[in-house]
Symmetry: C2
Subunit: 411 residues, 2 copies
C-alpha cells in the first residue's frame, strides 16, 4: 500500500545494521527486560546478530545484560530442555529524559528513564486564567533544574519533551496558538532549550497522549487509533497506519474546531458552532451553573453531583455527553479507527453518562466503521500526555541510538 515518496533513495547494507540497532533498543524500551532468545524470535534475526547488536548497545551504556534468573527460557530449536538466556535490560537510571506536561490548570515535570520508568516528578495546580508564557517557561526551568540536580554523574540526559494544549510547529517547537492558555506564537521550544541547556521537543497534548497510549497503553498494537483530549477544549491525537498523523506542520487534530452546530455559540477561535463550544469543559460549567475554569477537578465535581442526583448537573452532563457521542461519530466516519480513547474531562463524562454518549454515537456513525471501533478510556490515566512527552524526547535516541548518544555525551 506504500505510495511513492518522490525522490525516495535506495537503501544500503550499512543502513540495515543501524536500523536493527534501533529496532532492538526500541523493543526493550517498550517491553522492558527481554531474554536474548526472545529478541531473536521477535526480530527474526539470528542469534549471533542479536549478540553483536546487544554488545554494541551494552558498550554504549544503553542496555545491560544479565543472566536470566526468575525464568528459564526454553529454546524451541533445542531438545536439551531449558537453558538460561541473557536478559537485555534498558539502562533506566543511566539514560533519562525530562518530561513536561503544561496544562491550563496543572503543570507536571518528571524525570523518566529509558524503558519508561518515572524516576521522580513534581506536580503543581493552578486556577484557570491566562498565564504568561515566560512565567511558565521560567517555572519549568526552575523545577527542571531541581530535578536535574538529582541526576547521578555518568548518567546521560537526552533532552526534554514538552506537552502543550495548542498548535505546535513541529520544526522548532513554536506554539503557534494555545487559546486556553492565551498564548500566541510563543517560542516555548527555544526558551526552554536555553533555560534547561538541553535539546527540547514540544508537542501538542493530544498528539502526545495518543503516542503514549500507542506505545504502552490502550492502543498498543493498534495501527489506527484516536485519542480525544478534553482539557478546556478538545483536541485529537491520531495514529493512522501505525504512524502519528501530524499534517504538514504538526497542527492536525484540531477536531474541537470543526463546525458541528453552525447556528450555535461563537467560539473563541473566531468561528461559530465548533464542537468544543458544545462539548468542552466551559460549556459544562456554564450549563451546570458552576464558575468557569474549574479544570479537571471541576468536571469531577459536576460528574459527582450528577450521580448524586442534582438535576442541573445531570442535564449539563447529558448535554455534553450527547455532543460527545455525535462528534466522536464524525471522527469515526472520517478515520475508521480501531480504538477511540476518551481522555481528560471526556473520560469523566463517559464514566457517568456513557449510555448517552454511545446512544448518540450509534445513530450518527455509519454501520461499517462503527462495528470496528472500541470506545475506551486511557490505560495510563491522566499521565498519557506526560508519558507521551517522554516518548517524544526519547525518539531521536531510539531512531539512531549510537549517533544520538554520541551527540549527547560529546556535548
Amino acid at each position: 500500500m506504500t505510495v511513492l515518496a518522490q525522490g525516495a533513495r535506495g537503501a544500503r547494507s550499512e543502513d540495515v545494521r543501524r536500523g536493527n540497532l534501533s529496532t532492538l533498543l526500541r523493543y526493550v524500551h517498550v517491553h522492558g527486560p527481554t531474554a536474548r532468545s526472545r529478541l531473536t524470535a521477535v526480530l527474526g534475526l539470528n542469534r549471533s546478530t542479536i549478540g553483536d547488536l546487544t554488545g554494541e548497545l551494552v558498550a554504549a551504556g544503553l542496555v545491560r545484560e544479565e543472566p536470566g534468573r526468575a525464568e528459564r527460557v526454553h529454546d524451541r530449536s533445542s531438545s536439551s530442555g531449558g537453558r538460561p538466556s541473557y536478559v537485555v535490560t534498558p539502562e533506566s537510571e543511566r539514560v533519562q529524559v525530562l518530561a513536561v506536561d503544561v496544562g491550563v490548570t496543572h503543570l507536571t515535570v518528571a524525570r523518566i528513564g529509558l524503558g519508561g520508568a518515572v524516576l521522580s516528578r513534581i506536580d503543581r495546580s493552578y486556577r484557570r486564567g491566562a498565564r504568561r508564557q515566560r512565567d511558565v517557561t521560567a517555572t519549568i526551568g526552575k523545577i527542571g533544574a531541581a530535578l536535574l540536580a538529582e541526576v547521578e554523574s555518568g548518567a546521560v540526559l537526552i533532552g526534554a519533551g514538552v506537552a502543550v494544549p495548542g498548535m505546535v510547529r513541529r520544526r522548532d517547537g513554536q506554539v503557534r496558538q494555545a487559546p486556553n492558555l492565551g498564548w500566541k506564537d510563543a517560542p516555548v521550544g527555544a526558551e526552554l532549550a536555553r533555560a534547561l541547556g538541553l535539546p527540547v521537543w514540544v508537542g501538542n497534548d493530544a498528539d502526545l497522549g495518543i503516542r503514549a497510549e500507542h506505545v504502552r497503553g490502550a492502543a498498543a498494537g493498534v495501527d489506527d487509533a484516536v485519542y480525544l483530549s478534553g482539557h478546556s477544549g478538545i483536541g485529537a491525537g491520531i495514529i493512522a497506519g501505525g504512524l502519528p498523523l501530524g499534517g504538514r506542520a504538526g497542527y492536525a487534530g484540531e477536531v474541537g474546531h470543526t463546525v458541528i452546530n453552525p447556528g450555535g455559540l461563537p467560539c473563541h477561535c473566531g468561528s461559530q458552532g465548533c464542537w468544543e463550544t458544545e462539548c468542552g469543559e466551559e460549556r459544562l460549567f456554564e450549563l451546570a451553573g458552576r464558575p468557569l475554569g474549574g479544570g479537571l477537578a471541576g468536571v469531577r465535581e459536576v460528574a459527582a453531583a450528577a450521580v448524586g442526583g442534582e438535576p442541573v448537573a445531570r442535564a449539563a452532563i447529558e448535554h455534553v455527553a450527547s455532543w460527545l457521542g455525535r462528534g466522536t461519530a464524525n471522527v469515526v466516519n472520517a478515520l475508521n479507527p480501531e480504538v477511540v480513547i476518551l481522555g481528560g474531562a471526556l473520560e469523566e463524562v463517559f464514566g457517568v453518562a456513557g449510555a448517552t454518549v454511545l446512544a448518540e454515537f450509534e445513530v450518527t456513525a455509519l454501520a461499517a466503521p462503527q462495528e470496528q471501533v472500541r470506545i475506551v478510556t486511557p490505560h495510563l490515566g491522566p499521565d498519557s500526555t506526560l508519558v507521551g512527552a517522554a516518548e517524544l524526547a526519547f525518539e531521536a535516541l531510539l531512531s539512531e541510538p549510537l549517533l544520538e548518544l554520541g551527540r549527547r555525551t560529546a556535548s
Copy 2:
C-alpha cells in the same frame, strides 16, 4: 517520528536489493524514461548497482534500455564533456493492467500500461438509478474481455483495479455499502476476479483519486493531501505523511457523513444533517429545481445557468459553495493538509463560485492550518479515479517486481 510498530522485524541485506528494485521500477513508472545517470543521482546508489538492478528488470521484461538520443546527459563528476547515458524506459505495451471506474452515472474501463499510458478505453453513460451490482459486474466483464482481446501475445496482465463510490473492505474487495448505487455487501472483488480471470483490487473512488493525484497530479511531491470527491455524495481520499490513510479496514474518508448541521435534512445513511445533505449533487439539483440524478452533466448545466444569470441556479450554487467552504475548513482543521483537491461536482462548484467557497472557508478554518493549504482542482481532470485504479493494480508489482511478475507469468 516513527512510532514502534510492535513486533517489527529486523531487516536483512537481501531485503535491500529487493527494495532497490522496487524503488527503481517505481521511479521510471512515475517519471517515465530516465537516464541511468539520473537514476544514480536520484536513488543515491552507485553506477554499477544501478546497472545490475536495471539488468534484472530488463531481463524480466519490465523495462528496456536504449542509448540516450534526444539529449546527451552530462555527468557532473566527469570533465570530459557530455557522454551518452542509457535511458531506462518502462515497458508500457508489455506490462499492463485493466482500470475500472464505476460511477453512479458512468462506467469507464481502460487498458493502462506500466508508466501510466492509457492504451485503450471504453466509456459508458447512464441515468441515475439503482443498478444491480451483478449487471454492472457482467458489463465490466464483457467490456474487459473486449479490451483484453486486443492485448498482444507476450504481454503480461498484472490484474485489474476497480474504483467504486462506497466503503470497500480492503482485504477482499467487498463493497460494504455504496448508497448512491444502492449496493450493500456486494462481492465486487470476488465476482470480477472470476469474470476477468485476473487478480482484482477494489478501492473507494476518493481514495483512488488522491492516489493518482499524489503519484502524478496536483499532490505530486506532497506528503499531506486530501482529495474531496463529489459524485452524488462526498468522500475524501487522504494522504497523510506520504501514505494513504485507509483506517482499520479501508473505510476512512466518509467525511460526507460527518454531521455539520444537526437540525438539518435527514440523510440516506440514517443520520441527520450530514455534510453531503447540504453540499451533495442532489441538494444542488433540488435547490435549482432540476430533476434529481443528473450526475456531473447535470451539475455542469446548473453551473452554466448560474453563470448565465439564472437566479435559482445561482442561489443553488451559492448554497452548496458556502457549505463546501465550511466543510473544507473542518477537513483542514482536522488534518492540516498542504493541498485540498476538489474533484467531480465540487470542481464545477468551485469553478463558478470559488469566491464564496473561499470566503466561508476563511472564517471557519484556524489561522495556522489555513495559511499552509492550497485549495485546487485535479490535474488529471475527471480521470483521477481511473488512473488511481490503475495505480492500485500496479502496486503489487511495484512493491515486489520480480516476485509478482513471476506469479503472473506462471499462472
